[in-house]
Amino acid sequence: MSGHGPKPEGFRTIPTWEVAKQPAERPRKPAAPHPATKKTLRELGIVEVPDEHKIQVALERLKEQIKERRSYMLAMESCVKCGLCQENCHTFLGTRDPDDSPVGRADLIRKVWKRYFTVQGRLFGKLVGAEDLTLETLQKWYAYFYHCTECRRCGHVCPFGIDTCEVTMLGRQVLFWLGMIPALHADTDVAILKSGNHMKLTKAGAIDTLEFLSDEIEEERGFRVEFPVDKPDSDIVYVPSSADFMLNPDTLKGAALFFEYIGANWTILSTMTEAGNFGFLSDQYRVQRELYRRLLEGAKQLGAKKIIWGECGHGWRAAKLYMRTMADMNNWWHIPVVHIHDEIATYIATNQLELDPSRIPQPATLHDPCNYARACGHTDNMRIIIKACVSDFREMQPNREKNFCCGGGSGVLFDDPEMYPMRIRFSQKKAEQVRATGVADGAEPGILCAPCSICKAQLYPMVDEHELNVEVKGLLDLVGKALVFRGKERLGGTNNEKNQ
């Protein structure tokens, strides 16, 4: 990603407590991401439905999904609109737009649901909040469903456990079928289907980058770590996030150092150099499933016994919760899929790794990626790892499953001039949380550990926008740095005497 988008002129970030004093109003036209080009859509194998058929097709799709997703039907029929989720959603806290809250977003579909699929809506219409589906409504869906970061905080706080992600994901799916996809998501879908990663990295390019990373490790640590690609008879397949090749190389190096330390027989699959899954965020039926198939097939061909997932929030949620039921085979017991944090935490909990926290003296705080915290349940082991790796760990408030999203989740990483200011507002709450920990107060930059590629991509520019004096790091970056390789490592700097 090109990093910083066009910086809006005269845009100032307002604290959420100031925003809360403003009246909750709907803007006349919500900010929407750039749509995909016709060419990209053709490459994805879909044709944009012409405007005159859009409404009919959307209704057909909505109807056929009723039987397919119980969570969607329950969200439509049992929400009481108490408004509890509103002030617990980072997008509403940043914008004060009632449609930008979980209940508001779900209501965009619920109005249509009532009008076409319920007795009361057909009989009483507006009285029960039913509305006709119009092209304008579809445009609103397109804007607001791509403001949702699928972070599940609404599901966590809802007294009934209604997970609004299920509604916005369904909305995105219907929009995909209509040919209304943001350029970012469509391009990423095309890229991953073509090259096996989001960065359009070819196998040769990947190997080249990995060799470069090997050189870097040799320069820094004094020994060489190889990154095997497509090595036959590997015991484990590591699935890195493709952003790690370019944007966060330290994360990939950290994983390699860990595997080197324990002496694992590992490899990276060239057909699937991507832990993320944008199919999960735009098209769950074709793209998401294809990616699982490709991974499992590749892993099987190499004879792998286990797949280990890299640092990617939504990708791990997609793999952990959806792969079993989507891969058309009960892969779980043939090739177990686990997250690298779980493995490292197990090694640390059983005292098998030598880690030196004094190598990272800066104050550090941990941002719990939403998908790890509210969909995959691995908040404790991230703490096991970070506490073993840094000397000054400070907890962010609220944390764990109550944590707020970074504001970029589910690929809301749009750089276009309309959406970029929205991203700054979405991350307002996160900036306040980081500021409250005090890690940004020192003269030296503190560490904001965000072990998820999308969080990193969002936070790299956002810490600048919100003027936070922190470095954004992954958890594996810290592990790689803190791992002590006795007898192998050429140690430099202040810790030299200590480790010899």
Partner: protein, 279 residues
């Protein structure tokens, strides 16, 4: 008119209520849960899952934790609804002698009746106050008003009318209806030997509005108590983790080591060293 409301409408109401309820619950149950989409931290077992749901039902824990100002209206109102439903069934069935029947020696019949009266008054007032507060909240918070449809206000208004009439009948001596009159009438309905409505306009209105509530119940958000159970069945489930331990590694974590992580139990599996192919 009174004949229609007191004799014909009740049977229609009950048919619509039970039919609508069954239809909705059947639809909810028949729809697929294609993927495991539980919210973490996952409960450790099904017992933990049920415990969590019961905890949520009893205390409205999430509301208490995340929005106190909603909780002070919502929780008392729902507890009052429960008490009122129970009170109506017990009070009318036993003619206000329910406390005497529970503690026959400690509480006399007259005391039981006045206790029943006192409790009815108190809970009725709590209910009306809490419902009025929730209605006020819907108007007063612009963010909640922005997402409310007219029906959201009307549901609360309907509850307020029913509760208001009930409380009025309790407090104003001339407006009240004695238990045996109500029981006589209701017993007639239940036994399919309809009796004429008691000659009390407040009772008629109370009875009419309750029937309206029952008719709209299955076709509105009032289904939420069932919705909650059905929803939590999907999102609060235990999850079985695959075992940890890296096959083929030189340093191996000892098998069987267990640690807990956000409700998950982490097992470590001992991976046998597989012979390398072709050797």
């Amino acid at each position: 008119m009174a004949y229609f409301i007191g004799t014909i409408l009740p049977y229609i109401t009950v048919a619509i209520f039970l039919g609508g309820l069954t239809w909705h619950l059947w639809r909810w149950t028949a729809a697929r849960i294609p993927h495991f989409i539980a919210l973490s931290p996952f409960p450790k077992s099904w017992a933990g899952s049920v415990g969590f749901i019961v905890w949520q039902i009893l205390l409205f824990w999430n509301i208490l934790k995340f929005d106190r100002r909603l909780w002070i209206g919502a929780w008392p109102m729902h507890v009052a609804i429960g008490a009122i439903l129970g009170g109506h069934i017990l009070g009318i069935y036993t003619l206000g002698l329910q406390f005497h029947m529970i503690f026959p020696y400690a509480i006399s019949e007259a005391l039981s009746e006045s206790l029943s009266d006192l409790l009815g008054k108190t809970i009725g007032v709590i209910f009306v106050a809490a419902a009025a507060y929730l209605l006020y909240r819907r108007f007063a918070y612009d963010r909640v008003a922005a997402i409310s449809a007219p029906s959201d206000y009307l549901h609360l208004l309907l509850l307020l009318i029913i509760g208001g009439i009930g409380v009025y009948m309790r407090f104003v001596p001339g407006a009240s209806l004695h238990y045996d009159e109500a029981r006589h009438f209701l017993a007639g309905l239940f036994l399919f030997r309809p009796e004429p409505l008691p000659d009390n306009v407040f009772f008629l209105l109370h009875f009419l509005f309750v029937q309206i509530l029952m008719i709209i119940f299955p076709f509105s958000k009032l289904m939420h108590p069932f919705g909650m159970l059905w929803n939590r069945w999907v999102v609060n489930r235990p999850y079985e983790e695959p075992a940890m331990g890296i096959p083929g590694a030189q340093i191996v974590a000892p098998a069987g080591v267990i640690y807990e992580d956000s409700g998950r139990t982490i097992r470590v599996e001992h991976w046998p060293r597989f012979p390398v192919k072709g050797v």
